[in-house]
Amino acid sequence: MDGMLDFQVILDNFTYFMIGRYPSGPLGGLGLTIYLAVVSCILSFFGGLILGLLSLSRIALIRYPVNMFINTLRGLPLLMVIFWMYFLLPALMGKTVPENNTVIMGLTLFTSAYMSQIVRAGIEGIPKGQVEAALSTGLKHWQAMLYIVLPQGMRNMIPSFVNQFVSLIKDTSLAFIVGVSELTHVGTQINNRTMAFPTEIFIFIAAVYFVLCFTFTSFSRWLEGRLAWRKAI
């Protein structure tokens, strides 16, 4: 043991941890972490919805490729997906892509695959009778899905979506690897600059992530209990 921990370094760099060089420079630190997580979450919500619905399509020519795509993404480490984006996006678009967008794309693709499984489970949890009833009232199959099944399934999906958001917050830390100055990156930067306080810095960063993630984990549990209670009536 090397003596006492000294958290002064945290206080000295507190705003840098929270917002980076903002407002005189780009947003960084915790602010950027939240930005990345929220944007990727919104995008992958729709991505997951589309992939989930397509993976349940009655047309095999759609269903099989989509399922293969989803399983491929789920079989890869997120880091690999981010590296792919890092190399593929500039090649495909013919110009350099800002790192923030690279990471958002990687996170969105990766998380969409997981979200699609939630959507799928949510839809499969709705009794078949609902679709049959909807079809017999004259709705088309896609209408039955969109207006009858999805709204009911969505309620069961919400807690899982929130959990996925928590994973997403944790996953944004990987943006550090391609040089996006979010919380983890800021932490390693300050660590490299100050040299003597790695323990304090990483405990602090872990605590920040913990507070953020635990809040949402608890929220999801609360939601789960509440939604289950409503269903019982």
Binding site: F87, L174, T217
Partner: protein
């Protein structure tokens, strides 16, 4: 569309191929050691969490919540860069004499994964109906013996698929060890890319390796589900 000359031979033979193979070996090594340690630790935490002694339950809950709600990357950095200030000197000396990057990665991955495994084990045990325990107790088994002969054998069967899943997660997560210089598969793919500028080939090779591993294990698990868990359906 792309002006790029593919040269697959560089990743199927020669120096770069050997790099990738050595990377795969380290990935598998970390995953194998990690899953065994994480299972033991996870079992311990699960038992603590279900204990009737409250402080033990609190400790287990705090452990679970903390390690599940912080990014793995931060945990890796903590063990690699920051743990020396809070670990006893003996442990530090020992770690400095081993391959410290590898050790830090294994410690971080083990602890992170154990928190998820503990929940899987716990829900496996909780999924066995209470009546099983009651019936075992009224047949004269003690609490521990009922656990040993009645509850656990059933729970273990249910817990196998989630455990395999955790093993796959562990394997995928071990790619983060590259950030502290462990030369596993993703690290080597990156190396090949920066030495040969053949990024597509290198990353395709690594991607395929990850996919083969996860697809084959998933297929095995499906088979297990069909044959062992729901034999009447097949």
């Amino acid at each position: 569309m792309l002006k790029y000359n593919f040269d697959w031979s560089i990743v199927t033979s020669g120096k770069y191929f050997e790099w990738l193979v050595s990377g795969l070996k380290i990935t598998l090594e970390i995953s194998a050691i990690g899953i065994v340690l994480a299972f033991i630790l996870g079992l311990l935490i699960a038992v603590m969490k279900m204990s009737h002694f409250r402080p033990l339950r609190w400790v287990a809950s705090a452990y679970l919540e903390f390690f599940r709600n912080t990014p793995l990357l931060i945990q890796i950095f903590f063990w690699y860069f920051g743990s020396y200030k809070i670990l006893p000197t003996v442990v530090n000396d020992y770690l400095n004499n081993t391959n410290f990057e590898f050790a830090a990665a294994v410690i971080a991955l083990t602890i992170y994964t154990s928190a998820f495994i503990a929940e899987d084990i716990r829900s496996g045990i909780l999924s066995i109906p209470k009546e099983q325990m009651e019936a075992a107790r009224s047949a004269g088994f003690s609490y521990l013996r009922s656990m040993q002969y009645i509850i656990l054998p059933q729970a273990v069967r249910i817990t196998v698929p989630p455990l395999v899943n955790q093993f796959l997660n562990l394997m995928k997560n071990s790619s983060l060890a590259m950030t502290i210089g462990v030369m596993e598969l993703t690290y080597q793919a990156r190396q090949v890319e920066s030495y040969s500028f053949k990024g597509f080939e290198a990353f395709t090779a690594a991607t395929l390796v990850y996919l083969v591993l996860s697809v084959s294990l998933t297929a095995l698990m499906d088979l297990y589900n069909k044959r062992v868990l729901n034999p009447q359906r097949s």
